[in-house]
Amino acid sequence: MTTEEHRGIRSYKEDRERYAGFYALSQQSENPEIRVAGRLAKFVSEARDTILTAHEEGRPFVNNNYCTAPEITEAMDIPWLMLYEAPFMAVSVEGLSDQIDETGAMGLGTDLCTAIRSSIYYVEKDLVPVPSAVIGFIFPCDGMPMLHQVIKHSKTWGHIPMFCPDPPYFNDDRSIDYFANELKKMTAFLEKETGAKLDMDRLREVVEESDRQYLLWQEYNELRRAVPCPHGYGLGGPMCFAVSQMFKVGHKDGTEWFQNLVDLTEEKVEKGIGAVEKEKIRLFWFDIMPSGFIFEFMPWLEEEFGAVVVMDMFGNHPYTTIDTSDEQEIWRGLAKRGLFDTPMVRQAMGPAEGFVDDLVRIVKDYQIDVVVWPGHMGHKETQGTFGIMREACRELGVPFMDIRMDIFDRRYTTPDQIKDKFARFFAGIGVG
């Protein structure tokens, strides 16, 4: 009798092949930027392969997240996947709209963040390889702890042992110590559930390697300050995040990727080459960039208006390096990194001050002409800072454009409507 393959495993296999295909294709390009971007596909394919190999060999693999110290799972050599990545990756899946609609039929509110709804869908419908343990991330928004309550409640993942580091609200020393202790508890949990042991020397190595990545990322972001900006929405930004926080955490080939990116960009900046031929408007996209349908309006923005996304929330680099000479500082550094450096978490988690500080800093550092707030429907806490953001922009003298969209669902505000909004806005401020 043959047992049917688990759907999650099947889709990971498909992903592995698909991304390997993207990678191979990209390497045939004459354009070195396409080749650098293409390597990300290789990293995704390899990450899928790591999970599939563990599955085939009957070894444990876990769920972890970009903001709950993935350096620790890496150092423990435990393969990890991130459930929450599913809605972001699903953009390449056919029938995404149908999946979103199905979440409504399941009984989830349409005003719930689509990322949360989709993650719930993936768990309830058993579409992701089932891990041996779950590290949950129950911040920065109300949706995340609810997702994890559903995980516990579900028939598919409910039996899996789960540990969720508990997040404090502020970023003072007391909070960092508290979260550092949560990460220690998380490590003990992982040791118990997987049998792996954490070697502090190995953790130090991983952290040091990831620090190298962050330093290179910082260098890259300095280069993005140039006028014209060497890259737009298509390169850098979220890719740097994906390499350093998801697919190549503390890995040498991740560092090498960053080095490549920096070298290429340096050359471009030296020659004064920008992302578009004539850069006219420098945009700061203050949230996640839309998955999937970004290609339906960003190239138009660049071509039609010379409007370039110089910085975005996931490309924003607030990471600080970690003092590895002291064990406790490693824990504290990881705690700070998870809670107060990682994108989305950093902005959405604590008081509005943090949010505004980032806005002001980026507008100044990157000579931003227009702050674009997509107003993602799921981000209730950001909706609640709408007035504060607008006032901050007014004080800075920079136009503030709000779109109101669903970054996952192109039907909420369609690419055509988005284009229309941009055209009117630019005309209104006299730059169109």
């Binding site: 399941m106 009984g107 989830l108 509110g109 005003d111 719930l112 963040c113 949360i116 719930i120 949950g136 129950i138 911040f139 928004c141 109300d142 949706g143 702890p145 609810m146 997702l147 994890h148 309550q149 559903v150 516990k152 409640h153 969720c164 508990d166 997040p167 404090p168 609200y169 502020f170 007391r174 909070s175 508290y178 202790n181 949560e182 508890k185 959405a348 008081p351 509005a352 107003g375 429907m377 209730k380 806490e381 909706q383 609640g384 800072t385 709408f386 007035g387 504060i388 109101r404």
Partner: protein, 381 residues
């Protein structure tokens, strides 16, 4: 005949529930007393009492719109904080000497951020609420209680001793006991009060000095002793959900034959179903334990969903309910997903469940009534 119609005690409470500044609160202020508003039922109000301050649970009773607040929030924010901010910007909360915020949900924490920037209130403090209720979180919250106590002591130049906190806990528990006695009457076949009246009584308890409230409630309980209500309802209902402070909403439900006999809301049973430990060595730890772990929780706390379902099922059985209404404010992610799970859990228990999205203000009730009516009919009542 409605037994509350001739009750002076009930009339006093009804006035308190239908206004912001009720006569008791006004008297308190006239006597030099100070008032602190707080933004969620997980804020330990006993600390305000211990400091000699009057705790006022924030609500936006009397609000008619959100025009001013709409410059700060968007239409994807819960209407509760929007109405609160609007009233604050109109100056309706000038009777508050302080406001204590908390990260109980994304909308509420942003209410605090906007309040802080735009409303001139003397004392401001924010509590960092954990997302779970284990031993480390209880310790954390104990520390938060300590920090709140110290901030109050400093700002209001009062000394708050452990014995003051103990006395406040005792007084608050006394009120809780009376409220439970009131709820016990609702188990009867013909309860002497309906759901609308019960909510009036509960809301009043969040807006006047506890001594005065407890005295009023004792009197009312004596008046209700042995009295039977009408009994001409079609179905006995329980309401679960978050902020529900508007008796008019319950009135609409009851107008089509549903009698609300109990609830799991945060102006209702979740406030008082449990007492705080009066004997604990550290009263601040007792507060932390109560608010995080012991009392029936809200979905804000991760590790409590199973307990919440058990609570709902038990309440339902104890009060002989025919069905449950799960009310949820629009754009509340916590209650949305909670209801998604509760729906499945109650189906397993064979308990009919109706989910209702609502706005903070009860305006047009036509659709609500139609849905409740259909729900009652679907139960064959």
């Amino acid at each position: 005949m409605d037994p509350t119609a001739s009750s002076e005690a009930f009339a006093t409470m009804a006035e308190a529930a239908s206004t912001l500044v009720n006569p008791a609160l006004q008297r308190w202020r006239d006597d030099g007393g100070r008032v602190i508003g707080f933004l969620c039922s997980m804020v330990p109000e006993e600390l305000f009492m211990a400091a000699g301050l009057l705790p006022f649970r924030m609500r936006a009773t009397g609000s008619t719109g959100t025009d001013l607040a709409d410059a700060y929030f968007t239409n994807l924010n819960c209407s509760f904080p929007r109405h609160c901010l609007n009233l604050a910007l109109e100056g309706e909360f000038e009777f508050l000497d302080g406001v204590v915020g908390i990260n109980s949900c994304d909308h509420i924490r942003r209410l605090y951020d906007n309040w802080k920037r735009n409303v001139d209130t003397g004392f401001l403090h924010f509590i960092s609420l954990p997302r779970q209720s284990g031993p480390d979180q209880i310790q954390w919250y104990t520390q938060e209680c300590r920090m709140l106590r110290d901030a109050l002591a400093e700002s209001f130049a009062v000394e708050i001793k452990d014995d003051d906190v103990r006395a406040a806990i005792r007084l608050a528990n006394q009120g809780r006991g009376l409220q439970r006695a009131l709820y016990a009457l609702r188990k009867q076949e013909r309860p002497p009060i309906n759901g609308e009246q019960a909510l009036v009584i509960m809301v009043a308890g969040t807006a006047m000095p506890k001594e005065e409230y407890n005295a009023l409630l004792s009197r009312l309980l004596t008046e209700l002793d042995g009295v039977q209500g009408e009994g001409d309802y079609r179905a006995r209902l329980m309401i679960t959900g978050g902020i529900l402070d508007d008796p008019a909403w319950v009135r609409a439900v009851e107008s089509v034959g549903g009698l609300v006999v109990t609830d799991g809301t945060c102006f209702g049973a979740r406030l008082m179903w449990q007492d705080i430990d009066e004997e604990a060595e550290d009263p601040l730890e007792a507060l932390a334990r109560y608010y995080l772990a012991d009392r029936p929780s809200c979905p804000r706390l991760l590790d409590t969903q199973e307990k919440r379902t058990q609570f709902t099922v038990k309440m339902c059985r104890d009060f002989n309910c025919d069905g449950v209404l799960g009310e949820k404010m629009m754009f509340c992610d916590q209650w949305d997903v909670e209801n998604y799970m509760l729906d499945m859990d109650l189906a397993d228990e064979g308990i009919p469940f109706l989910r209702i999205d609502r706005e903070y203000l009860t305006s047009a009730t036509g659709q609500l009534k139609t849905r409740v009516q259909a729900f009652i009919e679907s139960m064959g009542k």
